[in-house]
């Protein structure tokens, strides 16, 4: 058994070594793959706050991923066509500035999470899964029929958005940005899990009746976790759209929600680096097996099955054993 700390360090090292090699060997596509892995990891780290810490099995996190994507798409679309987003009651212009887009993505997905969470939290278990799925489908069909922004065809953005002081057209610079955000969010999640809020949330997942009897509100704790979770996945959505310079209703699809959850299950539920490991494995399989066969998802399904049956802690659990109680 390798201590989880060292395994986490090894996983993080991959995110530094592989792109460094790719830069040296002049393999920009590998950098793009690693960017994809980092962004997927970020989306799943977000979901893991709701799922792993809060015990909220959301099958609708594509809503936030999509909102982030469309926040980027719509703002950048208006910037490239030089048309205002709205003129009344006040004028909102489009923008190509990443920080502004990110902030918009975070705020909008947090608001959506507040609304969806507030309504879904009345249910639990399988009903919670179904209601979050239903919200996901609502957003999906809405985006399909929203012809002003491409409807089914989605929106293409010609040039990647700007970040002050960086040339984001350079794959390695955009990658560095995504990796920095991933690291910052991992740090935040690590602190969150040990904070007073995290401790109460952890208990609210396991014994809500106990949390009530010490005078705290377990539902409100979970709702706040859901909002934080949605905001992070929304930020990942904005980055994903910028990576592809394209946003489409696929980002809202239930398959997307499922994929984000699969990253967590492969890597290890409630483990800090679980979603990161899962996203790496997914992108790796997608690249290597996807090159061999169009039906590579069969192998992913098999892997998922094996992990669920025999290795409940995911990759992290298999390598470093059961989680130690923190403290």
């Amino acid at each position: 058994m390798i201590a989880e700390r060292y395994l986490n360090a090894a996983i993080l090292a991959i995110f530094f070594i592989v792109p460094a090699w790719a830069l040296w060997a002049n393999e920009p596509f590998t950098i793009t793959l690693m960017t994809r892995a980092a962004i997927f990891a970020l989306a799943a780290v977000g979901l893991n706050i709701a799922l792993g810490l809060g015990g909220l099995v959301s099958l609708g996190h594509a809503v936030f991923f999509g909102i982030g994507g469309y926040a980027m798409g719509i703002l950048a679309f208006h910037a490239q066509t030089v048309t205002p987003l709205m003129e009344w009651p006040f004028v909102i212009e489009g923008t190509k500035s990443m920080p502004v887009i990110w902030l918009t993505a975070i705020v909008l997905s947090a608001l959506a999470a507040l609304l969806i969470g507030h309504l879904s939290m009345r249910t639990s278990g399988v009903y919670f899964i179904m209601i979050t799925l239903a919200f996901g489908q609502m957003f999906f069909f809405f985006s399909i029929s929203w012809s002003a922004y491409g409807g089914e065809d989605g929106l293409s953005i010609w040039v990647r958005n700007d970040f002050p002081g960086l040339n984001t057209l350079q794959p390695i610079q955009f990658y560095g940005l995504c990796l920095a955000i991933l690291c910052a969010v991992l740090w935040f999640t690590h602190r969150l899990a040990r904070s007073p809020f995290g401790l109460a949330l952890n208990a609210a997942r396991q014994v809500p009746q106990r949390v009530e009897t010490v005078g705290l509100n377990p539902t409100r704790l979970k709702l706040v976790a859901f909002v934080i979770s949605g905001a992070i996945t929304g930020l990942a959505g904005a980055l994903f759209a910028d990576l592809n310079r394209f946003v489409s209703p696929t980002m809202f699809s239930w398959q997307m929600s499922g994929e984000i959850m699969v990253f967590i299950i492969i890597g290890g539920v409630a483990r800090l680096f679980g979603p990161v490991a899962g996203a790496l494995v997914f992108v790796g399989l997608e690249h290597f097996l996807g090159g061999l066969s169009d039906y590579w998802l069969v192998y992913l399904g098999l892997l998922l099955l094996l992990i669920v049956l025999f290795g409940r802690g995911g990759v992290i659990g298999i390598v470093s054993g059961r989680e130690k109680a923190h403290g």
């Binding site: 935040f188 602190r191 969150l192 040990r194 904070s195 007073p196 809020f197 995290g198 401790l199 109460a200 952890n202 208990a203 396991q206 014994v207 009746q209 106990r210 949390v211 009530e212 009897t213 010490v214 005078g215 705290l216 509100n217 704790l221 706040v224 989680e323 109680a325 403290g327």
Partner: protein, 249 residues
């Protein structure tokens, strides 16, 4: 006579045709231990649930520290000073013993909305939590995962979590259950002192503990209080002996 700190006034609760609480009026006065006894299915747990706010009575009221709290949530009652222990341990099994008591201290502080500083690094929370652990004798197990505690230690931890709230009233649902004679004796000694900090409404099956601790006993049978009085009164009550102590009078 001192004002009761906790009182139910004629509470009734039915589940279909079953009357789980039938016009129950009991009270708890400062400094006393009032034991509720009764055979299985007598409605003790239903009564506790209504006192703590997890169930709302069909009729009657619950009074806590002079205020009618019948419509208040469990949380509001906890904040008002009601400390409860569960019959079946309700502890975060994946967390450490210390984390469980820190949760209590966090509830008492009313400040869970802090997202970055480590909870266990908060000196106030920690001091309060560790003091509670020490009082029940679990200080050496602070770092143990709760799932690894023995049954008896979990019962002690239940009490410790309630202590962190520094409640003004305790409601304890079978704290001795499954403790064994040694553990039972120790907890009996502890509760004997604890009553001077806050009175205890004690639901308990362990008759040795009940008879040695209780200032008053109420006997619940089929949701009704059939007798209430001192230990001597109850031990000599004919109806109680027939209904509960299983003796032919």
């Amino acid at each position: 006579m001192a004002e009761p700190v906790l009182a139910t006034r004629g509470i009734s609760k039915s589940f279909g045709a079953l009357k789980a609480s039938d016009d129950v009026s009991i009270d708890l006065r400062p400094g006393e231990i009032h034991a509720i006894i009764g055979p299985n299915g007598a409605g003790k747990s239903t009564l506790i649930a209504q006192i703590c706010g997890t169930l709302k009575p069909d009729a009657g009221s619950v009074n806590l520290l002079g205020r009618d709290v019948t419509q208040h949530t469990t949380r509001a009652r906890a904040k008002a000073g009601l400390g409860r222990t569960f019959q079946i341990s309700a502890l975060a099994m994946q967390d450490t013993v210390l984390q469980n008591v820190v949760l209590g201290a966090l509830g008492a502080s009313g400040r869970p909305w802090r997202f970055l500083a480590p909870a266990l690094g908060d000196a106030d929370l920690r001091a309060r939590a560790e003091a509670a652990l020490e009082r029940v004798g679990l200080q050496d197990h602070a770092a143990t995962r709760t799932a690894e505690l023995s049954h008896g230690q979990r019962r002690q931890l239940e009490v410790a979590v309630a202590l962190t709230l520094e409640p003004r009233v305790f409601v304890m649902d079978e704290p001795m259950a499954g403790l064994g004679s040694e553990g039972s004796k120790r907890l009996t000694g502890f509760l004997d002192e604890l009553r001077h900090e806050a009175p205890i409404l004690l639901v308990e099956h362990d008759m040795d503990a009940v008879f040695s601790l209780a200032d008053r006993i109420s006997v619940l049978v089929y949701g009704k209080v059939i007798a209430s009085g001192s230990v001597d009164d109850i031990q000599s009550d004919r109806q109680v002996r027939e209904a509960y102590l299983g003796e032919d009078a």
